[in-house]
Symmetry: C2
């Protein structure tokens, strides 16, 4: 009895799916089975979508948001944005949630990640040089650090704050508030969240 295996094409598909972030070996198998269960149309559409995005979308060299090959960067092209305030985020996908709040009218800068020594990501791997260049024009007066409130986000925020204090001391550097999330009770909050909520308490 020969050793049983999937057809080569299935193994190749699983190997590729496994490389996607958050997709482990089991999920990759599950997705592959599901894809093969669909009519060929969805697989064709998915293949076209993957290739189309890779070919027609790139990172804006100025602000790090997605840039469409035909339409350019929707952020940099928007003349109505307040250029005096820049909100620095980790990923382009962090921009839309902030936009949905409806209260921020300024510009954005997407770093393309965060400082994470364990993953070998240092300041040079992020769009920090470009951010400094944006500040050199002198029209920016506030920089909001919209990074995550975890260890890597903390490291990134501290690094940027120090860099800015030296290079652009006139720019006010702020950070998003940390505390209890909306709808979150005290019994569900971890110690660090409560510590920060206490630390950042505001007079009513």
């Amino acid at each position: 009895m020969s050793r049983l295996d999937f057809p080569e094409e299935v193994n190749v598909l699983i190997a590729h799916l496994k490389r996607l972030p958050g997709v482990g070996p089991k999920s990759a198998e599950r997705i592959a089975v599901w894809l093969l269960d669909q009519d060929g149309e969805f697989s064709g559409d998915l293949a076209v979508a993957v290739r189309g995005a890779a070919e027609k979308v790139q990172t804006c060299a100025r602000c790090g948001f997605f840039e469409s090959a035909s339409l350019g960067c929707a952020l940099c092209g928007d003349e109505a944005r307040d250029r005096a305030v820049i909100c620095v985020v980790e990923q382009p996908t962090d921009v839309l949630p902030l936009e949905r709040t409806g209260v921020f009218r300024g510009s954005y800068h997407c770093l393309g990640g965060r400082i994470a020594p364990l993953e070998n990501i240092g300041p040079d791997d992020l769009l920090i040089d470009v951010l400094m260049e944006r500040l050199s024009g002198g029209e920016v007066n506030e920089l909001i650090l919209g990074v995550a409130s975890d260890v890597e986000g903390e490291a990134t925020a501290n690094y940027l704050a120090e860099l800015l204090a030296v290079s652009y001391p006139e720019v006010v550097v702020t950070r998003l508030a940390q505390g209890l999330p909306a709808g979150g009770g005290l019994q569900n909050a971890d110690e660090l969240t409560l510590y920060r909520a206490l630390d950042g308490r505001r007079k009513m």
Copy 2:
């Protein structure tokens, strides 16, 4: 200020990724960002892999395993397999883990799912007719139900057992043992697992 959105190609990619099983809106965004961060080569390879598998692999009409367009079904083509014993599993991906145990030399039958009324999957959506046809030859004497030990697996096993008792009473129907998983202590086992472990206890 116009409403900010991702380039169209990114939205199309995210919409397609979201449809994959186990991939929610957040994971889809994360995968899309990751894909756009890679060099174009990986996206191209992934697109080719998705399309290649969809075009060159199908479900074997006889046993439900993956069938390669060029090489046929590796299970049905293997003359050395014992045709008197069939292990019925839910998905083609359940076959390889069983093969790795090295103790089973029989044939397989992949149902293509399990009976799940909440997901609108009934017996007619599974390869049950074909299984009955395989039994009609009279050479099968044991059918092992290798379905999951959850509610849907239970329903599928019961349905098949009743159907077989009526149509092929001479075929012995067995089910994979249920009990403590290897390495699992009693303190980690849930009530139902312990109940089944007690119920299925074996004399040493």
